[in-house]
Symmetry: C2
Subunit: 407 residues, 2 copies
């Protein structure tokens, strides 16, 4: 499939066995679109989360950290809203997030400490608890949608559409499935931070092992994307494991399970980057030849965050000097005289060889930048460290979308 | 005057006594506009420079570092071109920069080692040495302009106009003047980096003292601006001291001289930020209450680099949560519960008090964001560290300008 899912993929999208979901609209989005999602299991499941490293942490982030710690990583479900981030809301925001937990718990017959909460939207506004309470009731009323694609849609904000992903893994007791959804289009930057994502799996796995697998998967996926260098106060990735598959993740299976989780996370991460606000294409940056992976990541991160690189790609302008300039200010100890640069997934056009510009076919280079993804490959010529980082082009629409967000 | 100089200010602009200049067009700019500037003194003068910290350094940067070191900080002049950055050009670029030195030296009857060179424009292209040689000759021909405003205009690229500044200082032997010009509108970011700037003074000052004064002045000016978070390969600030005033800078006068130099540098820095590509206003970020100045700078830098903050200001959208989110991911150990935030030069509208949102007049807040400069004040509530950082709003025109730079 293309990077972003089409209507048919959304219609076919299913959570992992053992999980149900519901979606409703309660008016937190002024448009009247779906803005509430509930994902739950009838039995307690293992849960893990990775949260923003921003010093400013939204109330739901604080409550989820507390909930996971207090409950030993066992929960029943996740209750999410869009339209209000419940961030920078102080004690009242914390109380609101706890009340949101209770509303979600009541909807599925669980205790409040068994429900995680997610919020996304404007920072500094209080949740409308009356709407939220009415919405929580509506989620279990006969008219509510039980389609996972609708749950994915409900948590979107400036996204052009929902992000979904799935993966499978063979384990000792059978095959297990990983399926999840995510939102995110702005305020995306990979400093151990992510956007909202909910993953489900029917594998049987202990909370501590699940948490370790999630950290590893996030490092290879959500922490490798950047839309605008901004990190949200609400970024959260949650994974819930029902055990319904009967397939258990033990020491031997942890690697394969982590790989499947990372595969689903990476698919969601690419969809988030592709759906960057105003973006017209995914950009894949391959960095090789670094001293180590950290150095590769530092260089890739600087290039992915450079507005000049991203606008040049948007304009199909093979202005490769900006790529090298970004590598140069990344803080990594590159040697400009050893750097090589190509455009295209097959290293189609080489622009730079050991620090020297090469004559190149400008029309072909411009054509490669029009690709979706547009692929750039920088080799630092120093060692075996490598990474792949995803970002998007920067268009005038990014500015339009963000100049008028709250007004 | 307004932040950017008008035609009258440009017409009145003069270098410090002891300096002459010339400007010409040699075709390096496709438009045919002025693209060469020469500034010189008839007698050797003290010189100092501050250069980009990018690992990728343009040939003129390498040659200038070498020239200042070899000559003990004594030069006769500066030869600058726009239209080609002579960056990422390897050995050939170095040879071209040295030939450019020789051309400038021949034009003023100096030795090549007495001339500094500056280049700005596209990265990865070679200087057209035939055009440059013809242009160097034209600079001393009868028709060449000797107006300092034209020299300032010649080094601009995507700038909407030249940047000029002057300051005065009382010294033991009399008053001395500082006057200079700068260019820069994109690839601007304050990691000890600057754009092209040439400052002149008629104070008498030893090269080592001049270098120290320049470093201090740059730290308070060019290193406090950001347009897009990108750092150029060519960024250079040069200062030349003729001694024509008869006023000498000794230990006692160094502070006053540094202050005057910093004043001129800050005026140029503000003009560069105001003239950021596509910008419609200057943004002044005041950060107070930090543990120390470094922390204040870190927070100010993150806010100044946030595309979300800058687009919100462009849209007059008082979406202050983005300001706090940027402070939160700056890496500084802020305490969100102690942060206060105001818009307006007189702290006119308070939006946040000790981490909690306040009700505020949205229309008035939006009006303050329309100011030029738009002033934001963040108090971290932790200590006495403070700074001021300048940036600009981010408009769709930034994207348009940079999507089509080389094509």
């Amino acid at each position: 499939m293309s990077v972003l899912p089409g209507p048919e993929q959304l219609a076919r999208f299913a959570l992992a066995p053992g999980f149900r979901c519901a979606a409703a609209a309660c008016g937190l989005k002024k448009s009247g679109a779906l803005d509430l999602a509930l994902v739950w299991s009838d039995a307690p499941c293992a849960a893990a989360g990775v949260f923003t490293t921003n010093r400013v942490q939204a109330a739901p982030v604080l409550v989820d950290r507390e909930t996971l710690a207090a409950g030993g990583g066992r929960v029943r479900g996740v209750f999410a809203n869009a339209g209000c981030a419940n961030a920078v809301t102080g004690e009242r925001g914390l109380a609101d997030a706890r009340r949101m937990q209770a509303l979600g718990a009541a909807a599925i017959g669980a205790r409040p400490g068994e429900v995680l909460v997610l919020s996304t939207g404007v920072i500094g506004a209080f949740l409308d608890m009356d709407r939220l309470a009415a919405g929580a009731a509506a989620l279990r009323a006969p008219g509510a949608s039980a389609a996972p694609g609708d749950a994915a849609r409900a948590i979107t904000t400036t996204d052009t559409g929902p992000k979904i992903a799935h993966a499978e893994v063979a384990l000792p007791g059978g095959r297990a499935r990983v399926a999840g959804f995510a939102k995110g289009a702005g305020m995306i930057h990979p400093r151990m931070a992510t956007m909202l994502a909910v993953l489900t799996t029917d594998a049987a796995i202990e909370p501590a092992r699940l948490a370790r697998a999630l950290r590893a998967a996030v490092a290879r996926s959500f922490n490798r994307i950047s839309v605008d260098g901004d990190m949200s106060t609400n970024d959260t990735v949650l994974v819930l494991a029902s055990g319904a598959a009967g397939a258990a993740v033990d020491d031997a299976g942890e690697g394969a399970f982590t790989a499947a989780l990372a595969e689903a996370c990476a698919a969601l991460a690419r969809q988030i980057a592709r759906d960057g606000e105003g973006a017209t294409r995914l950009v894949e940056l391959r960095v090789t030849g670094a001293v180590d992976e950290a150095m590769a990541h530092r260089v890739g991160d600087a290039i992915a965050c450079s507005p000049l690189v991203k606008t040049a790609i948007h304009g199909n302008d093979p202005n490769w000097g900006r790529v090298l300039a970004a590598a140069g200010y990344s803080g990594a100890a590159i040697d400009p005289g050893r750097v090589r640069l190509w455009f295209g997934g097959g290293d189609d056009v080489q622009l730079l060889d050991c620090g020297l510009p090469l004559p190149f076919d400008r029309a072909r280079a411009a054509e490669l930048l029009r690709g979706d993804p547009a692929v750039l490959h920088v080799d630092l010529g120093l060692g075996g460290g490598a990474t792949v980082v995803w970002t998007c082009d920067l268009s005038a629409d990014y500015v339009r979308i963000n100049a008028e967000y709250t007004t």
